[in-house]
């Protein structure tokens, strides 16, 4: 089993890259989408709605296949498999992330907005000093779930030639036929990566905490 390790670890590195990249894309996409969703301009609200429904309403695998096999036909260039995977999985996660952000932001009580306005805060100050700090504790736990889901979903990238854990496990399985070891090892590696990600998110959560307690 030891001789499988280097190849599986190389795969883990790629899985890490895909996941990290997709999380970055998802964070940017969900922030933009939620800003558009909550804007008072319907011209901005609609595209964001379409994006969210489109990516939530279709399978990530088909999105990936479509981006990998169909999109290059209309693009003037062919993006690398890993870039394709990062962007598609990122946009997919971003659609869910946008809804998490929206729910958390809307749950900040009206009284907080009133207080911010009464203190003559600018719109930016209101968002960054009043709304977001209170939304964070509600955003982080479901975001942690989403990111871990994205880690596991990154296995789909193996189906479009990205040499991640899943891809390498399949190659090893074909050459060694030792199913139990190969896939067992893959499970363990995914599990450890998920643990690390969850630990990191919990650390963030702890840093963002303030005594909530009674309604203010």
């Amino acid at each position: 089993m030891l001789h499988m390790l280097p190849m599986m670890l190389r795969g883990a590195l790629v899985t890490g890259e895909v996941t990290a990249g997709a999380i970055v894309v998802a964070s940017v996409a969900s922030s933009c989408a939620v800003a558009m969703r909550l804007s008072t301009l319907t011209a901005l609200d609609w595209p964001a709605r379409v994006y969210i429904e489109l990516f939530r309403g279709t399978s990530a695998l088909i999105q990936l296949f479509w981006a990998f096999y169909a999109l290059p036909l209309v693009l003037p260039f062919r993006p690398s498999p890993i870039i394709t995977a990062i962007v598609v999985l990122g946009l997919n996660g971003g659609a869910y992330g946008a809804e998490i952000l929206r729910g958390a932001i809307l749950s900040v009580p009206r009284g907080q907005h009133d207080a911010a306005t009464a203190l003559n805060f600018s719109a930016t100050t209101k968002v960054f000093r009043v709304v977001l700090p209170q939304a964070w504790p509600l955003i982080l736990p479901p975001m942690a779930n989403l990111f871990i889901d994205m880690l596991k979903n990154s296995a789909l990238a193996g189906l479009v030639q990205v040499t991640d854990i899943t891809f390498n496990a399949q190659i090893l399985q074909e050459s060694t036929l030792r199913n139990a070891e190969v896939y067992g090892l893959a499970l363990v590696i995914y599990f450890i990566m998920a643990l690390v990600l969850a630990g990191f998110m919990r650390l963030l959560e702890r840093r963002m905490k303030f005594p909530v307690g009674a309604r203010i």
Binding site: A118, P211, R215
Partner: protein, 259 residues
């Protein structure tokens, strides 16, 4: 007008969806005047204060603060919508204390007070901290600067909220049932604080309250308000002791029976 009013409502209309809250409301408040608004639940008392605080926008009519329209300016002789900058400048003249305190739960007490001076007035942090510390001292909470709002009692929270509103040195202060969420003894202490404050400043003050004793002590003028209209308007003696309208008498009877 040669003596500029602090606040003027001119033909103000305000409705929410199908509920008409204020209809053709006219109201003038003199500089430094203390006006208490009383009236049954849902009559539109909070709406008046929220309109003044620019938390709501009137459907029609003019709100003037120190003679200047809040929502409109004249350009080339025409009345046009005011810029956001103008509205913010007008909003800066007004401060408000809420029934449910609305402290920022993620900021410590001192930061709750320093946040606006630093970010809105651009005050240096050290000066903002000094001012906040003075204000906390004035509301009797000097030792709570580093506490979280969740660690305070209701009365303490409301004191912080008052200090927070004062930090911006508004010309007009609005108090919307600031003791309704407090038990009577604590409410009395908070009201005493406001009474002391009112004596020390020149601010124009508007109060919505159900505390008739407090109304009597603080008011230059009492307005009885029902279904979006001013039914009675006069000194505390006139309105509270010798109400002219049956509706006012009925309301006062109910209030006195309850307390």
């Amino acid at each position: 007008m040669n003596h500029k009013a602090s606040i003027e409502f001119v033909n103000i209309h305000k409705s929410y969806q199908r509920t008409v809250v204020l209809e053709n409301l006219n109201l003038t408040v003199a500089p430094g005047e203390h006006v208490v608004i009383i009236g049954p639940s849902g009559s539109g008392k909070s709406t008046i204060l929220r309109l003044l605080m620019t938390l709501e926008k009137p459907d029609s009519g003019e709100i003037l603060i120190e003679g200047e329209s809040v929502w409109h300016t004249t350009r080339d002789g025409r009345n046009v919508d005011a810029s956001p900058a103008h509205i913010r400048r007008m909003r800066g003249k007004v401060g408000m204390v809420f029934q449910h305190f609305n402290l920022f739960p993620h900021l410590r007490v001192l930061q709750n007070i320093t946040e606006a001076p630093i970010r809105v007035m651009g005050m240096p942090r050290s000066q903002a901290v000094r001012r906040a510390t003075d204000l906390l001292d004035r509301v009797g909470l000097a030792d709570k600067a580093e506490a979280w709002p969740a660690e305070l009692s209701g009365g303490q929270k409301q004191r912080v909220a008052i200090a927070r509103a004062l930090a911006l040195q508004p010309r007009i202060m609005l108090f919307d049932e600031i003791t309704s969420a407090l038990d009577p003894e604590i409410a009395g202490q908070v009201l005493q604080l406001v009474l002391d404050l009112a004596k020390q400043t020149e601010m124009t003050m508007l109060f919505v309250t159900h505390q008739m004793r407090f109304a009597r002590q603080i008011a230059d003028r009492v307005l009885f308000f029902d279904r979006g209209r001013i039914i009675e308007n006069g000194t505390p003696e006139q309105v509270l002791d010798h109400p002219q309208q049956p509706r006012t008498r009925e309301f006062l009877n109910n209030v006195f029976q309850a307390s």
